[in-house]
């Protein structure tokens, strides 16, 4: 009987390649969906993905601090606590603290990769037998944690009560997805960081090699962290950009005669990259006795057309009729940076239309 090696030659189709292909497929879907609104958020996400790819290609050593088991375990506990916290966050509850926690989690994961030398996901030819045994064991433990936590939560939430089912749906629409991704992609590294003993001095040689690729990688990481802050500051500094047009709409008969109508479309962009676009899109009519709304000037129409890394609050959304029969509509909103909450800007859009169809103010 011949013995089959436990480390066969690498086949063409591997789980890693299938996962990579699926990730590319899903990013492709995202690009298709975002193509129409190709924006700074998409560019930033792509830059972060490229950064992650470049960082992963650089070999790392844990260094003195991350070589200590106590420090690594502390790091694992911090990651675990943030992961648990995200389970409680619904999409509508996402606030500045949660964004800060998300950035902290990303930085902690980068540190975790360095602490474990990324052996959890390293190619088989880059690790020795001891490391392979350790990471296989870590995957077994992480699998048990994943299967029990995700499987039990899913089963109980779906079967127990409608309230739990709703909590699960809302959680996965919000912070729960962050927790799940963390468990799915980083829990083996967390187990390795927890299990590995203190590293003996000089055992792993020097710290990270300061080669050109490493400098590029860490330059990109710095840029990825600083860029959202810079773009958030632009919200307060950069001027708003306004675009507007009107278009005649078909007339129709009313009890007062013939009503003439126009379509009004205006957009105001606050901020560059990370900001918001507010919009008025409405049809208003006039018949000589009054101007009135056909559609698009109601409370349900006052919502941000597009927002990226900002929170928007409608301060005023009011439609009034003047004593002279004129129509007044005001949409005022506060655009506040999600990253730097003390940075904000007020955007006001107005439509004033007389009973004779004269546009007094727009937008």
């Amino acid at each position: 009987m011949t013995t089959r090696s436990l480390r066969p030659s690498r086949p063409l189709i591997t789980i890693e390649r299938v996962v990579a292909a699926l990730i590319v497929l899903l990013i492709g879907f995202g690009l298709l969906a975002w193509f129409e609104i190709f924006d700074a958020g998409l560019i930033y996400v792509l830059f972060v993905l490229v950064t992650a790819f470049v960082v992963r290609s650089v070999e790392v050593e844990p260094g003195a601090w991350l070589g200590l088991r106590a420090v690594r375990r502390g790091l694992v506990l911090v990651i675990a606590l943030i992961t648990l916290d995200f389970l409680t966050i619904r999409a509508m509850d996402f606030n500045q603290v949660d964004i800060a926690l998300l950035f902290l989690l990303i930085l902690a994961d980068v540190a975790l990769g360095r602490a474990t030398r990324r052996i959890a996901s390293a190619d088989e030819d880059r690790i020795d037998e001891r490391q392979e045994a350790l990471r296989n064991r870590a995957h077994r433990i992480a699998y048990a944690i994943l299967a029990i936590s995700v499987g039990l939560v899913l089963l109980i939430a779906e079967v127990a009560t409608p309230g739990l089912r709703r909590w699960l749906a809302e959680s996965l629409g919000g912070g729960g997805v962050v927790s799940f991704i963390q468990l799915l992609f980083f829990s083996p590294a967390m187990v390795i960081a927890w299990l590995e003993p203190d590293r003996i001095a000089d055992e792993d040689g020097s710290r990270m090699h300061r080669n050109f690729r490493a400098r590029i990688a860490y330059g990109m990481v710095t840029f990825a962290v600083v860029l959202p802050v810079l773009m958030s500051l632009l919200l307060a500094v950069a001027p708003s950009r306004v675009s507007a047009f009107t278009r005649p709409e078909p007339d129709f008969a009313t009890s007062n005669g013939t009503a003439h109508c126009s379509y009004f479309d205006a957009r105001t962009q606050a901020g560059i990259g990370f900001g918001a676009t507010t919009r008025i899109a409405a049809v208003a009519c006039w018949d000589g006795r009054s101007a009135f709304e056909e559609w698009g000037l109601n409370s349900s129409d006052c919502y941000p057309y597009r927002s990226e890394f900002v929170s928007t609050t409608t301060i005023e959304c009011r439609r009034t009729m003047g004593s002279d029969g004129s129509l007044h509509f005001t949409y005022r909103t506060d655009v506040r940076s999600a990253i730097l909450p003390f940075v904000s800007r007020e955007v006001v859009m107005t439509l004033n239309l007389t009973k004779d169809g004269k546009v007094v103010q727009f937008p």
Binding site: A133, L154, E158, E293
Partner: protein, 326 residues
Amino acid sequence: MSAPQRVANATTTKPSTIRVCVFLLALCWLVAAAQLPYSLQGTGILIVLALVALDVVLGVMTGWLAFQPTSQLDERQAALRDRAYRIGFRLVGAGVLLLFALYVIGSILSAIVLGPQSQSPSDGFNPRTVVAILELLAIAPTVVIAWLLRSDSEPANGPATRWIPLMAVPIVALAWIVAVLVAPVETTVLTTVPDNSFTMSAAKCGHFGVVKRVASGFGGAIRLEAEVCWNGQQAFTYGDPSLPRPSSLPAEEFAMAFPGLTSCAPLPTDSDFGNVVEHCTGQIDADGTLHVGLRGRVSPLPGDFGARDVQLRLIVTRDGKVVAFD
């Protein structure tokens, strides 16, 4: 030689029965995970039973290596098991991503073929997806071990008692039948009043959604989504021309159907585990009060055996007061 030893001493490369089982398992999993067909038309339980049977077959053929404690394995077996868990972990990642990709593709196709669906935010996962995720988590390492297992290492004539776990199949079937016959119908209500996402001139609106599930959806479900508006004279629904239109407003405004607003029909996935029929009636009385009644029948078993009749009513006055929603 124990089954784990057979696994560890595997040799040839000939296609084996066990790999056929893996293929069948993957096929069944794909049926559960994919959004196509849109509805399993009451055959969902057969998929579940097939998955359980294949799980047990794979478990027996691999000697349940994935679930053996380290103390009962030699070094080589433990190494193989741990390696299977590492690959299994990646398999779960791939499976989850595939589920998501299938969901996106299914949603796009569904929107094109079936039109907009009214999915309540309280819906959570549909039972098919729950089955797919649980199956993935439960069996991935065993599937990896089974894939690595070669034909000459398959057990030949082991004791018949090792197949006792196949009893899980009738036990699961029995548990499901008991659940669909006995378990109380679970009701989820979601009302949004006022509904800021939809407004009409000179009227206020609210959204009313209700889902009644048999055996937590594993026996079928009926649902009603209604966009109800009121203008002081009458209360009325908007988005379903089959329901009564208010006499106080132009009829042409109510000619088009908007299933995303008002829908009196189950989602395709509601009938994965049971055949579902539902019918709505509506009336606006002389006081302008809206009465909507729904009658539905959920039949998890063939021949209407154990069918559950479900009813609900929604009564809203012309001033927007909800008199009944149960």
